[in-house]
C-alpha cells in the first residue's frame, strides 16, 4: 500500500487536468472532479496512516538528472510525519471543496476556482511526500502561484489584486532565502535528500556559523510561507480571497507547509542550536504580537487571520524549544479547528452579507448550526479542555517551560490568555447580544446543507482530536522521547489565563457598550489600543522597506534602462533608418537607370581586370 503513496497527490493532479479539459462543459458539476479525487486520496492516505502506525515506512527514488559526476535523485518518502500530514491535508481539503460547492454556487469563475483549489492541494500533497528539497521546492512554488490566483479570485476589485500581489511578493522574500539555503546545502553535500542531508552536513565538521546560516535561510522560507513576524503582513490581506480559500490556506496547506518544512529538515536545525533558538524566538514573538492585534479587529475574518499567525507562532515556538512532536500536534489540531472556524465564519458571512462584527450580533437565533460549530472551534482555539487545542497548546507550553529560554513560555502563556479573550469577543459580537443592524438580521438565513455538513463533520475532530491522538501521536513521531518534565503550577497557568480571557471577554462584551468605550478612553488602554489598531506598525515598516529596498533601486535601474539601454537600442535603430533614408534615394524605380549603372559598373570592372592582369 505504501508504494501507492504517490497516488495521493496524483489523483487531485489528474482531477486538475480534468477540470482544465471538461470544466467549462461540466457547469457546476465540475466540482465533483476534485471532490471525488480528494475523497479517494483521503481513503488512501488513511490506509497509509494505518500501515505507518504499525511501523511501516518507505523511501524510494530514481535517478533523475546526471550533471558530470553528479547524480540527482527524485522520489517520495512516507514516514510517520508525512503519513499524518497526508491524512490531515486530504481530509480537510476534501471537506473544504464540498463546502465550496455551496459557498461558490453561482460564481462567475466556478470552474477556475475548483481547478486552482485542486492544484493547490495536489501541490501540498506533493510537498509532503517529496523525499528531497528540490521536488519540495517545486511543489512549494506551485502553492505560491495557486495562492496568488485564489486570493485574487475576484480580481474585478483592485484591492483583491493588491492583496494577491502582496501575498506573492512577501512570501517570495522567504522563497529566495529557502532557495539559497537549498543550494548552499547542496553545494556542500551534493544531495537534496531530506534523509541524507543532516547526516552529510553533520559529517563535514562545518563551522557553526555555516550551519546556522543554512538553517536560518531554510527557516526564512518557512517564515514567509507560515506568515511569521516580520513577514506576517501578507496573511491578513489574503482574506480578500473567497472564505473557503482562507480555510484552505490558513489551515491545511500553505501556512502548514512552512511548519512542515522546519519539521522535515529538523535534523539540520538540530545541528545548528543557535538557529533553532531563533526559530523559537520568532515563534514566540509571532504568537504574541498578532494575538494582541486580533483583539482590536472588527472584521471576523481578520480576527481569524491574526489568530492563525499566532497559532503558527506556537508551532514554531515548539520547534524552537525542541518539542518537535508538540509542534506537529498543534499543527494537526489547529488545521481542524481553524478550517472549521473559517468555514463557519464563511457561513456567517454568507448569511449576514457583511464581515464586520459590529454589524452582526444576535445571529444565534438565526444560525443555530453555524453558531454551535463556531463555538466548538472557538473553545478549541481558546484551549479550553477537553477541546483539541488545549492538549496541543499545553504540550507546547510545558516544553517551553522545560527549555532554557523561559521568556518563550511567558510569551506563549500570555498569548493563550489573549487568544481566549479575542475569540470570546468574536463569538459574543457575532452571535449574542442585541442585533445591531436590522437589515443584516433580516437578511440572515442558515446556509444550505452542503455547507453545514462539512462544518458538523469538522467540528468532531476539532472537539475530540486532541484528547484522542495526544498519546498515539507522540508514540508515532518520537517513540523514544522521555516524558515531559512536570511544570508544577506553571503547567496550569496557561489554562487559568485562558479561562480568565474568556471571562474578561464575556464581561466586557455582554455588558453595555458605554462601559467598553469608557475603558478605551482611559489613558492606560488608549496607547496600547492605538498600537494594536496600527498593527504594531508592521505594515508601515513593510512599506518603508519596500520603498527603500525595492522601489528606490528599481527607480534607478528603471532610469538606466530607459535612458541608457533604450537609448543605445533606439540609437542603433535611428542610425539604421537614417542610412536607409539615404539609400532609398538611389532606388528611383527607373529600370533604365539600373541598367545603366550595371553597364557602367561592368565596364569599370572589366577595365580594372585588364589593368590588373596586364
Amino acid at each position: 500500500m505504501l508504494a501507492w503513496a504517490p497516488l495521493v497527490p496524483a489523483l487531485p493532479l489528474a482531477a486538475y487536468v480534468l477540470h482544465l479539459i471538461f470544466g467549462r462543459r461540466a457547469g457546476e458539476r465540475t466540482a465533483l472532479f476534485g471532490i471525488v479525487a480528494l475523497a479517494l486520496s483521503t481513503l488512501l492516505s488513511l490506509a497509509i496512516l494505518v500501515q505507518v502506525a504499525h511501523g511501516a515506512a518507505i523511501d524510494r527514488s530514481v535517478p533523475w538528472l546526471r550533471i558530470g559526476g553528479l547524480q540527482v535523485r527524485m522520489g517520495f518518502a512516507v514516514g510517520p510525519l508525512e503519513a499524518v500530514m497526508l491524512a490531515m491535508v486530504s481530509f480537510i481539503s476534501c471537506f473544504i471543496e464540498v463546502y465550496s460547492m455551496g459557498y461558490m454556487h453561482g460564481d462567475r469563475r466556478y470552474n477556475r476556482f475548483f481547478s486552482n483549489v485542486t492544484l493547490f492541494v495536489a501541490a501540498m500533497l506533493t510537498a509532503v511526500i517529496a523525499n528531497n528539497l528540490l521536488l519540495f521546492f517545486a511543489a512549494w512554488e506551485v502553492m505560491g502561484l495557486c495562492s496568488y490566483l485564489l486570493i485574487g479570485h475576484w480580481f474585478e476589485d483592485p484591492a483583491n489584486c493588491r492583496a494577491a500581489t502582496k501575498a506573492f511578493m512577501v512570501t517570495r522574500i522567504g522563497d529566495v532565502g529557502l532557495l539559497l539555503g537549498i543550494w548552499w546545502a547542496f553545494s556542500l553535500t551534493h544531495t537534496f535528500s531530506f534523509a541524507a542531508l543532516p547526516g552529510a552536513l553533520g559529517a563535514m565538521h562545518l563551522p557553526a556559523a555555516t550551519l546556522d546560516a543554512i538553517a536560518l535561510l531554510i527557516f526564512l522560507g518557512a517564515v514567509g510561507k507560515s506568515a511569521q513576524v516580520p513577514l506576517q503582513i501578507w496573511l491578513p490581506d489574503a482574506m480578500a480571497g473567497p472564505t473557503p480559500i482562507s480555510a484552505l490556506i490558513h489551515a491545511a496547506t500553505m501556512v502548514a507547509a512552512g511548519v512542515f518544512l522546519v519539521a522535515r529538515t529538523y535534523g539540520i536545525f538540530l545541528l545548528a542550536p543557535a538557529a533553532l533558538h531563533w526559530v523559537g524566538i520568532v515563534g514566540g514573538i509571532s504568537a504574541f504580537i498578532p494575538a494582541t492585534i486580533a483583539c482590536v479587529q472588527t472584521d471576523i475574518k481578520k480576527v481569524l487571520a491574526y489568530s492563525t499567525i499566532s497559532q503558527l507562532g506556537y508551532m514554531m515556538l515548539a520547534m524552537g524549544v525542541g518539542a518537535f512532536e508538540a509542534g506537529i500536534f498543534h499543527l494537526l489540531t489547529h488545521a481542524f479547528f481553524k478550517a472549521l472556524l473559517f468555514l463557519a465564519a464563511g457561513s456567517v458571512i454568507h448569511a449576514a452579507g457583511t464581515q464586520n462584527m459590529h454589524e452582526m450580533g444576535g445571529l444565534w437565533r438565526k444560525l443555530r448550526t453555524t453558531g454551535a460549530t463556531f463555538v466548538v472551534g472557538t473553545l478549541a482555539l481558546a484551549a479550553i479542555p477537553p477541546f483539541s487545542g488545549f492538549w496541543s497548546k499545553d504540550a507546547i507550553l510545558r516544553a517551553a517551560w522545560a527549555s532554557p529560554d523561559r521568556a518563550l513560555y511567558w510569551l506563549g502563556t500570555i498569548a493563550a490568555g489573549l487568544t481566549a479573550y479575542y475569540m470570546t469577543r468574536a463569538v459574543v459580537l457575532t452571535f449574542f447580544g442585541r442585533p445591531r443592524d436590522a437589515h443584516v438580521q433580516e437578511h440572515a438565513h442558515e446556509s444550505p446543507a452542503v455547507m453545514l455538513v462539512p462544518l458538523v463533520v469538522l467540528s468532531v475532530p476539532a472537539a475530540l482530536l486532541g484528547w484522542v491522538v495526544d498519546r498515539p501521536l507522540r508514540q508515532l513521531l518520537t517513540p523514544h522521547a522521555p516524558a515531559a518534565a512536570a511544570a508544577g503550577v506553571y503547567g496550569f497557568l496557561p489554562l487559568l489565563l485562558s479561562l480568565a480571557g474568556v471571562a474578561v471577554g464575556l464581561a466586557l462584551y455582554l455588558g453595555p457598550l458605554a462601559r467598553r468605550e469608557a475603558l478605551l478612553r482611559s489613558p492606560l488602554v488608549r496607547p496600547v489600543y492605538g498600537l494594536c489598531k496600527r498593527l504594531w506598525f508592521f505594515d508601515d515598516l513593510g512599506a518603508v522597506v519596500m520603498y527603500a529596498v525595492g522601489l528606490g533601486p528599481s527607480y534607478v535601474i528603471g532610469a538606466f534602462d530607459r535612458y541608457v539601454v533604450d537609448g543605445v537600442v533606439n540609437g542603433i535603430g535611428w542610425l539604421a533608418m537614417a542610412f536607409g533614408r539615404l539609400w532609398r534615394k538611389l532606388s528611383t524605380g527607373n529600370v533604365q537607370a539600373y541598367m545603366l549603372t550595371m553597364v557602367v559598373a561592368l565596364a569599370i570592372g572589366l577595365v580594372a581586370l585588364q589593368a590588373m592582369g596586364g
Partner: protein
C-alpha cells in the same frame, strides 16, 4: 590565322561591336518599351556574330560549336521577345503607357 574570303576577323568583331553599342543605346535611352526590347535583340545578335566568327576562325571547320550556340541564342531570344511583348501589352493595358521612365512603382 586563316582569312575567309580575305575578310579579317577584326572586321566581324567591329561590326558586332557597333551593333552591340546601338542595341545598348536603344535599351538604355529609348523611352518606348518596344524599342528597349528591340535594343536587347540587337545586342543578342551582336553576340551571335561574335560567336559565329570566333567559331569560324579559331576551331576546326567541322566543329560548328559556335554556330550551334548562336542557334540556341536565337531560340532563347524568340522566347524572350514573346514574353517581353506580352509584358508590354499587359503594362500598356494597366497603366495606359509603355514609356519605361514613367513605370517607376518601385521608386524608394
Amino acid at each position: 590565322m586563316i582569312a575567309a574570303q580575305g575578310i579579317p576577323l577584326v572586321a566581324f568583331l567591329a561590326v558586332a561591336a557597333v551593333l552591340f553599342c546601338i542595341g545598348l543605346f536603344a535599351a538604355l535611352r529609348r523611352a518606348n518599351a518596344i524599342m528597349v526590347l528591340m535594343g536587347i535583340e540587337l545586342m543578342l545578335n551582336a553576340v551571335n556574330i561574335n560567336l559565329v566568327a570566333f567559331s569560324r576562325y579559331s576551331a576546326p571547320a567541322d566543329a560548328a560549336r559556335g554556330q550551334a550556340f548562336a542557334l540556341f541564342v536565337l531560340a532563347v531570344a524568340a522566347a524572350e521577345a514573346a514574353v517581353g511583348l506580352a509584358l508590354v501589352i499587359i503594362v500598356s493595358r494597366r497603366r495606359n503607357t509603355i514609356e519605361v521612365d514613367k513605370i517607376d512603382t518601385l521608386r524608394g
